[in-house]
């Protein structure tokens, strides 16, 4: 379909709110004060952490259990490195300056055309097995995109499922339907097929369930006035995340405490701000990632593409693909040709080999990989000839469905984790020339975060081992330990608070622990060089229960319960230091157990939520 959108008022209208469910969150406010307070607290916390670790390695190792003690100290050190990377990666949050939407194509080009024309924009809605009516919503919203200047907008339904009913729906909606014989390259291959058969200057990528808001183009295209900008990523926002029950309401009704409960809830909310019980049980709300992590990458040009909800400059993507393609051909020809001494013969051989290699090469605008979005971002950021820029635009301009149940959640998270770790193992951005130090740090922080179970699991097990067996990872739970550890914990908590001000992080922290098994499996999968499957995250709720997913968590919880019982039974309050040691280990065990609980509850008792349907 082609819509020539006429001239309209350029004044940006307020955000339209015609989608059902909750309104998208405005990005949390940022300013220099936030950065300064956070940086001061983070520096302080990291200094205290360094001080603690120096003491930990030099004065606190337990000679009675050297291996255990060193193992836990190593896990603490890895966790500390994680904090350093995380704090550095959110050091400065910066939003890109808003620029007016370009009028014509020449506004976004470095070398203007002789015959200027309106911009051409293609919207790609990719689908594989999602229900027709779900995809129809996305297609309809894509058709309703607004723009203040004349624009050639074409919506394309890219169906890798080759379904007649999808084709029929595209015809009903008046949009183009593109499909292909194979599924080579999965989503990246599907996108390539779209690029080969369309002509937009800019391309909007939507998943099957991505519903753009009408102002997506009005707000984001201005960034392309900088001809070095290759893509703009907007936050992904789930319109179906359970908002939970406000605490006063929950205490009054669900906990049956009546008015007293409501009053207690109100007082609590006065003190700590709004509390919603049972909100976002799967921790899928991606605000902490987008509002903090991606925003922290704008200033050093390291915001990466996350697929859906992004706008791309076709020329950047295609040119990058050509350069990599040609590089691959060269790399396969060079070693063979180099063996030939005669220059004329060598050139002839090189040409013959090159065309042979080119036949088998694949042009990959989006790298054929399960994490094609982040991989392609690394490659474009590292393009030393073009120095492409990326922009993270902080306002929510598309909305989509969250993973519907623990199974879908696990499939999606496993895909993210194994994809990122696979890039780290096979083609590590840290070794890539062309990325600067800050870009490497940002990509490094992302990869490192997926190694978390290497330290979270030992740190969850340490108090269990102590309570069960009485083996301690430290020489003594005494005043010296608290004097070194507590200031660090308090300071880093304050720094985290300041760094993520206004963004809910409780679920992310819980799932940082609860994701241990999934991340461990992903790590094992990649290290064993098993092939990565491209699993499509199910968009409809699975009928079966997902209790099996929680088995490792249940085992760990059982061990924790046994440890609490055993440690309490064995407690001799009169022994010096015993009470403090017991209290500390009980505290950490309860804290860790509480972090595992939401996932276990979600897996064992999947909640029936309203299906999101038109």
């Amino acid at each position: 379909m082609t819509v020539a959108i006429g001239e309209r008022s350029a004044s940006a209208p307020p955000r339209s709110l015609r989608l059902q469910e909750r309104a998208p969150d405005e990005p949390a406010l940022r300013n220099g004060a936030r950065d300064f307070v956070f940086q001061a607290l983070a520096t302080f916390a990291l200094a205290l952490g360094g001080f603690y670790l120096a003491w930990r390695w030099s004065a606190s190792l337990n000679p009675a259990s050297p291996a255990f003690s060193v193992g836990i100290a190593a896990a603490e050190t890895l966790a500390y490195v994680g904090s350093v990377l995380f704090f550095l990666s959110i050091w400065r949050l910066q939003d890109p300056p808003l620029r007016p939407p370009p009028r014509t194509v020449n506004d976004v080009l470095a070398e203007p055309l002789d015959d200027d024309r309106p911009l051409r924009v293609d919207v790609f809605v990719t689908t594989y097995d999602e229900p027709v009516e779900l995809v129809r919503l996305s297609v309809r919203d894509a058709k309703a995109l607004r723009y203040p200047h004349p624009l050639v907008l074409r919506v394309h339904l890219l169906d890798d499922g080759r379904r007649p009913e999808m084709r029929a729906m595209a015809a009903e909606e008046g949009v183009a339907y593109l499909t292909r014989e194979t599924n080579a390259g999965f989503k990246a291959g599907n996108l390539r097929n779209g690029l080969e058969r369309t002509d937009g200057d800019l391309v909007v990528i939507c998943d099957a369930d991505t519903r753009p808001l009408p102002e997506l183009l009005e707000e984001t295209l201005g960034h392309f006035r900088d001809p070095r900008v290759a893509w703009v990523q907007t936050p992904q926002s789930f319109y179906d995340v359970d908002p939970g029950t406000p605490l006063p309401e929950w205490l009054a009704r669900r906990a049956r405490l009546g008015r007293a409960g409501r009053l207690a809830g109100r007082i609590a909310e006065r003190l700590v701000g709004p509390v919603a019980v049972g909100a976002d049980p799967l921790g899928t709300d991606p605000r902490a990632f987008y509002d903090v992590v991606q925003r922290g990458r704008n200033w050093c040009n390291a915001a990466f593409c996350c697929g859906a909800g992004s706008v791309h400059r076709r020329e950047a993507v295609m040119e990058g693909a050509l350069r990599r393609f040609a590089g691959g051909v060269r790399a396969s020809v060079r070693p063979l040709a180099a063996r030939v001494r005669d220059p004329a013969l060598r050139e002839a051989l090189a040409r013959a080999l090159a065309s042979q290699a080119a036949r088998h090469g694949e042009l990959q605008p989006y790298t054929f990989h399960v994490s094609e979005d982040i991989y392609t971002s690394v490659l474009l950021h590292a393009d030393r000839e073009r120095r492409w820029r990326s922009v993270y635009h902080p306002r929510v301009l598309t909305r989509m469905l969250s993973p519907q149940d623990p199974l879908a959640w696990s499939i999606q998270r496993f895909k993210y984790a194994s994809g990122t770790l696979d890039i780290a193992v096979r083609d590590n951005p840290l070794r890539r020339r062309g990325l600067d130090a800050w870009q490497k740090l940002m990509y490094g922080a992302t990869m490192y975060a997926y190694l978390a179970p290497l330290w979270t699991l030992p740190l969850m097990l340490a108090p269990v081992v102590y309570l069960l067996l009485g083996v301690a990872p430290v020489r003594a739970y005494d005043g010296a330990l608290w004097a070194h550890l507590l200031p660090f914990l308090v300071a880093s908590r304050l720094a985290l608070w300041a760094g993520t001000w206004g963004v809910p992080t409780r679920r992310s922290e819980q799932y940082h622990l609860a994701g241990f098994w999934l991340n461990l499996r992903a790590l094992w999968h990649v290290l064993a060089r098993r092939p990565l499957r491209f699993a499509v995250t199910p968009k409809v709720r699975a009928a079966r229960r997902s209790a099996g997913l929680a088995v490792p968590h249940l085992v760990l919880l059982a061990a924790m319960a046994a440890a609490l019982a055993m440690g309490t039974a064995r407690l001799d309050p009169r022994a010096p230091g015993a009470l403090g040691a017991w209290a500390a280990n009980v505290f950490w065990t309860l804290h860790n157990g509480a972090s595992l609980l939401p996932f276990v509850v979600a897996a064992l008792w999947p909640r029936r939520r309203r299906e999101v349907a038109p």
Partner: protein, 109 residues
């Protein structure tokens, strides 16, 4: 409709797109028109005598054309101006697509 002129000389095919830009706007049709015509060919010369500008999508179409030729086949470019040559060099495709002054010299090389 995109016009392309085909000419055959000693088994080689000379392809001349009659457009001023071989870019995202014309590449899909160029690809669809030319790829079937080059099947089994060992030498194809793409003459850019009418073309003033080529972009990455245009070059991607040339890659698709090359991939549709006979194994070991060669695609040469004639009449590429300085900007096209610069793009070929910057994408490093200049080794794969050797470029020549005109079709005659491309055929003789």
């Amino acid at each position: 409709m995109l016009h392309v002129r085909f000419a055959e000389t000693n088994g080689a095919l000379i392809v001349t797109p009659l457009v001023s830009r071989l870019d995202a706007g014309t590449a899909p049709e160029f690809r669809a028109t030319v790829t079937p015509a080059v099947a089994g060919r060992r030498l194809v010369v793409v003459s850019l005598s009418h073309v003033r500008a080529v972009d990455a999508s245009g070059l991607a179409a040339l890659v698709a054309v090359l991939q549709g030729m006979a194994p070991g086949g060669e695609l040469r470019i004639a009449h590429a101006d300085a900007r096209v040559r610069a793009l070929l060099a910057s994408t490093r495709l200049d080794e794969l697509f050797p470029s020549f002054e005109d079709a005659t010299s491309a055929l003789l090389a």
